[in-house]
Symmetry: C2
Subunit: 221 residues, 2 copies
Amino acid sequence: MVVTEATTTKSRLLEAAGQEFAQKGYDAASIRKICDRVGANCAAVNYHFGSKEQLYLEALLEAHRCGTQVIPEEFLLQGTPAEQLARFIHHFLKNVVALAQKNTWHHTLMLREMIQPTVALETLVREAIRPKFERLLGILRRACPDVDDRRLHALAFSVIGQCLHYRTAGEVNRRLIGEDAYESLDLEFLSHHISGFCLAALGLAPPLVQSHTVSSSDVKA
Amino acid sequence: MVVTEATTTKSRLLEAAGQEFAQKGYDAASIRKICDRVGANCAAVNYHFGSKEQLYLEALLEAHRCGTQVIPEEFLLQGTPAEQLARFIHHFLKNVVALAQKNTWHHTLMLREMIQPTVALETLVREAIRPKFERLLGILRRACPDVDDRRLHALAFSVIGQCLHYRTAGEVNRRLIGEDAYESLDLEFLSHHISGFCLAALGLAPPLVQSHTVSSSDVKA
DNA sequence: GCACGTTTCAAACAGTCGTTTCAATCAACT
DNA sequence: AGTTGATTGAAACGACTGTTTGAAACGTGC
């Protein structure tokens, strides 16, 4: 599929590079294929970007520039801490995990960088990830004012880990429970589930499910 | 570092291939470097394994053969469902996430396959992952007998997601909260944290932290 | 029309990749 | 010793990689 829009060759290369890198990874992606996709000569990459590594870096920056639509601070701060957390989780699932819009390469590329870091990770964390992380820490701090930093960090990772799992291990999950069952785990359900799970753990909502009582001594049937 | 044990060339190749594939990924790893590490000729790979892809596949099988020490069923079934879940989480963190033993390539390679699947994923899921997953489902089913399958799956993913996050996003986490703070999240602390978090969410333990009460109308200070 | 800097192009560069070939080596058995 | 089959070795294969080169093509200002 050859993309030939009325934009510049450089921007078209960046777009194609983002898709190719996201899909195949840095090593497996080739600049010849990237150039072919936009109908450009393979020398164009070195002319516009200098090298393959620079192209990858610029694609990564483009990814977190386009992929991270920042929520207005004031929208996020509305309501109780519990509501703020639920809103954060919903937004995180919707945008970062991006279950619905599978054709965007931006978050896929950032995920790749997270999992197998290159020299670009430092910048990515500083520019894109840390701001969001600090917001989550703020919400959790307001929700549980008395916890120390260590517990606070672990709480944040518990929230993020649950969300990201559907991205990082999506293909495994799909095979574990079957195609149909996995598709039924849509944004709405997962958003409610993870919110309820976390809020219950924090004592900000009733337990997710009615289980055996804690006190009863049921040592297995 | 050249490894020259008294084992066969084939097994030494497999070991070196596992390390190389785990460290660099399938594409970036080269069979010449693998052979160099064990002092073998690069034709040895094609002689013993047929192709690079077959070598990768066998390394992956070796990984889940050596890396998954199955817990005796009867040890896992002791105590209440809550205790079983805590024990599962502890074991999962200890072995799969392997925070302590960083020099083993087995789980790194399997993680890679999970995140960036090849044709080998099907086998890996069937042989290594699903059995453990079914055990977790069993525990959760005993802990919450009344939930439907959809909720059950989401619960299992919440447990696994929290644990795996320290593997998949370890480097990002480290940079987000700092080296020292991340090192303080050791196996014991994380095991207790995630267990407490999940059990509280299920109503099998008191909330992790004392937060603002649910009923109070604190609309933000 | 002419010269200018920018952009594109085909071609070749040196290097690495996975794989193949075939001769040399080795251990084991008659 | 001699033969057989399994294993290793150096070298080359064709295909691909990222990168460089130098000449065309382009639009723009004089």
